[in-house]
């Protein structure tokens, strides 16, 4: 799509900045039609997902008790959901006892108001940020910009996405859709202080980012982070990272604000022994990520003297109400399901129209937004309602998930919710078509007639795939292609073959 002649040709993905981070763009099939045309994107994704897949397979195979760890992880998460109110109250008490301040935010607007209030009270015009899905989800950077605060993303990929004006396309590697040449161009034109003659070698690009961010770390008054987990029993919060940008943000500024989804709480300190094994091996495919920081409230003389923890709902309680769908809240954001998904690998993350792409996004986003609820998105052709259909149900995501989220079952369940929000089941076009097919398949005479009819179509269309059928077939072809039909029916072929 782009040419790399040193000109500012990099255009943002998507073209126009979305108004809502959880819901933008057209329906999945329409968006996928666009992204599938981008050969560069598909090549980037193919290489990247294969690399992480192989690493993950190697390091998970290395642990003899991997399956037992997954079972423990799944059970801990189910336990957390069953007593979420008690655990959040316990977390709040322990953070508060150690000098932290806990805030509760019902939705994105409330969370943004809390955070911008803290930043303004601290008198900061610039804040440094640790990569965080929760703050992406609520559009915090835009809210800060609206009050004149510059939020500087400090994770390398997140900074690339920010400078490019993109949306993230992967949970762990948000700039997976950009290759080195594009990143070189983004840095050279948008960073402001890129070294002259910057090459597109990953090392050179990483060092340019180091120099670009170092002064900002050292002068920052306020940092904003997410949390990978928080321990109710002790009030301990943890951030898992690689570059050290997390440590910089969590350690150097005077004020730290952490925004965390309510589902990230864990009961006990000992539970760390499960999640510190499951998460790094599933996400980056390492035995351990380079840095994990844990802090409990405020420690005098070490790190920020002011700590705020914002507990975020923003649709999570909506998801929790769905008995089968609530397991989406078990997600630890490792992104293993994205890397093994054949659909994600082909379409890329932007086709999902949400900061949560891939298989987990397809079950999380619709539930956060209240799929099929009164006033919520609805139907298979709605941008959000189409997400549960963006899957082949191959089950690779379930196999890869470190906390055993049964994504395929949740997808099927959410398809029902998208189509029958009231739980009723009037016969659909699919039901009618299946009924007709059953009658034809049960009768030799009808099947022979159907075969002859199909062969006639095959001869007319030259055996090519059919992109568009007249109604009611259009209901099928608006989201799928019909494979090319053969010029002869099977029974005709068999008859001729037998007479030879």
């Amino acid at each position: 799509m782009s040419t790399y002649l040193g000109m500012p040709t990099v255009r943002p993905h998507p073209d126009t900045p979305p108004a809502a981070p959880l819901r933008w763009g057209p329906s999945f099939p329409q968006a996928a039609r666009q992204t599938l045309r981008d050969e560069q994107l598909r090549a980037n994704l193919r290489t990247a997902t294969r690399t992480i897949r192989d690493k993950r397979r190697r390091v998970t195979a290395e642990l003899g008790d991997w399956e037992q760890l997954r079972d423990a992880g799944a059970a801990i998460k189910a336990d957390v959901m069953s007593r979420l109110p008690e655990l959040l109250i316990e977390l709040e008490a322990n953070v508060t006892a150690r000098g932290g301040v806990v805030h509760w935010a019902r939705d994105a607007a409330e969370a943004n108001a809390i955070v911008t209030g803290i930043v303004r009270a601290a008198g900061a015009r610039e804040v440094v940020k640790v990569k965080s899905m929760a703050t992406q989800e609520i559009g915090l950077n835009d809210a800060l910009a609206a009050v004149g605060v510059d939020a500087v993303e400090t994770d390398l990929a997140e900074r690339i996405v920010q400078l490019a004006g993109d949306m993230p396309s992967h949970i762990l590697v948000p700039a997976i859709h950009r290759n080195r040449a594009e990143i070189q161009e983004i840095f050279a034109h948008r960073m402001g202080d890129a070294p002259p003659g910057l090459s597109d070698e990953p090392r050179a690009l990483a060092m340019a980012a180091r120099a670009h961010l170092r002064a900002r770390f050292l002068r920052a008054e306020v940092a904003i982070s997410g949390a990978n987990l928080a321990i109710a029993e002790t009030g301990t919060v943890a951030v898992v990272e690689s570059e050290g940008n997390g440590r910089m943000c969590l350690t150097l500024p005077r004020v730290l604000v952490t925004a965390m989804g309510i589902e990230k709480v864990l009961p006990t300190f000992a539970d760390l022994e499960v999640f510190l094994q499951l998460l790094p091996r599933s996400s980056t495919g390492e035995r351990m990520n380079p840095y994990t920081s844990m802090w409990t409230g405020v420690t005098p003389g070490d790190g920020p003297s002011e700590f705020h923890l914002v507990l975020l709902d923003n649709g999570r309680t909506r998801a929790l109400a769905d008995e089968l769908g609530r397991q989406a809240l078990h997600c630890i954001r490792c992104s293993a399901c994205l890397n093994v998904c054949p659909v994600y690998e082909h379409t890329g993350g932007h086709a999902y129209g949400s900061v949560y792409p891939g298989p987990i996004g397809a079950i999380l986003t619709p539930q956060l937004l209240g799929l099929g609820d009164e006033g919520g998105p609805f139907g298979a052709h709605d941008p959000t309602g189409s997400l549960p259909f963006a899957s082949t149900l191959c089950g690779a995501c379930y196999e890869a998930c470190p906390v055993k989220i049964d994504i395929p079952s949740a997808l099927i369940h959410l398809r029902e919710r998208a189509l029958h929000p009231d739980g009723g089941h009037p016969p659909t076009a699919t039901d009618l078509a299946m009924g007709a097919a059953a009658r034809v398949l049960a009768s030799g005479r009808l099947l022979r007639l159907a075969g002859r009819a199909a062969a006639l179509v095959g001869r007319v269309t030259g055996g090519r795939p059919i992109h568009r059928l007249p109604w009611p077939g259009s209901l099928w072809t608006r989201v799928r292609d019909v494979p090319g039909l053969p010029r002869r029916s099977l029974s005709a072929w068999w008859r001729d073959r037998g007479s030879r």
């Binding site: 059970a75 301040v101 990929a157 029993e233 350690t251 840095y291």
Partner: protein, 217 residues
Amino acid sequence: MTDPTAREEMLARIRAALGARPPAATAVPRDYQRVGSLGRGSAEVLDLLADRLEDYRATVVRVAGPDGVPAAVGALLAEVGSVVAPEGVPDAWLGAITADVRRDEPALTHAELDAVPAVLTGCRVAVAETGTVVLDGSAGQGRRALTLVPDRHVVVVLADQVVHAVPDAVAVLAAHPERPLTWISGPSATSDIELVRVEGVHGPRDLRVVIVGRTSS
């Protein structure tokens, strides 16, 4: 402070969502390995730690006993002009250092710290299986900024601080969960550009570990 009605409403929403059908309360199966099979401080566990650290491209130096530490530390800091050593680092470790030794009293500013090229610390516990060194800010480790801003981190790991697996380390740290903890597994790194691993980003780009204790060979 937060709006109390937000808190009450969120808790009420959660209770309503769990409603009549909360997830079945099941006991958590802990059939995974809760105690590593290699003994704490054994030659095998030290070998494993060295191997895993080198896999992350950290520099590893083995010394048989405490007597070997000063020379090893001195060599690892040979060409730097200054090094910060937090309170509690044994004087003996500093014996062969030619660099100017800085103390964090009074606390160094970020700018001062940024001008110091190296830091020398001990650690609380190390995990052999994952090649991880954990600092908890107790004696000889300093506040977190000290081991973050200087570009070279030299850390001395004593044999009896080395455990086999992650659960072993969590058990050690559980004695003081309130301390700020930093788990370090190799130098800082990124794979954000085409999944190509680049070592050394914002955290120390150069991690050097002195392991004190016998090897199995």
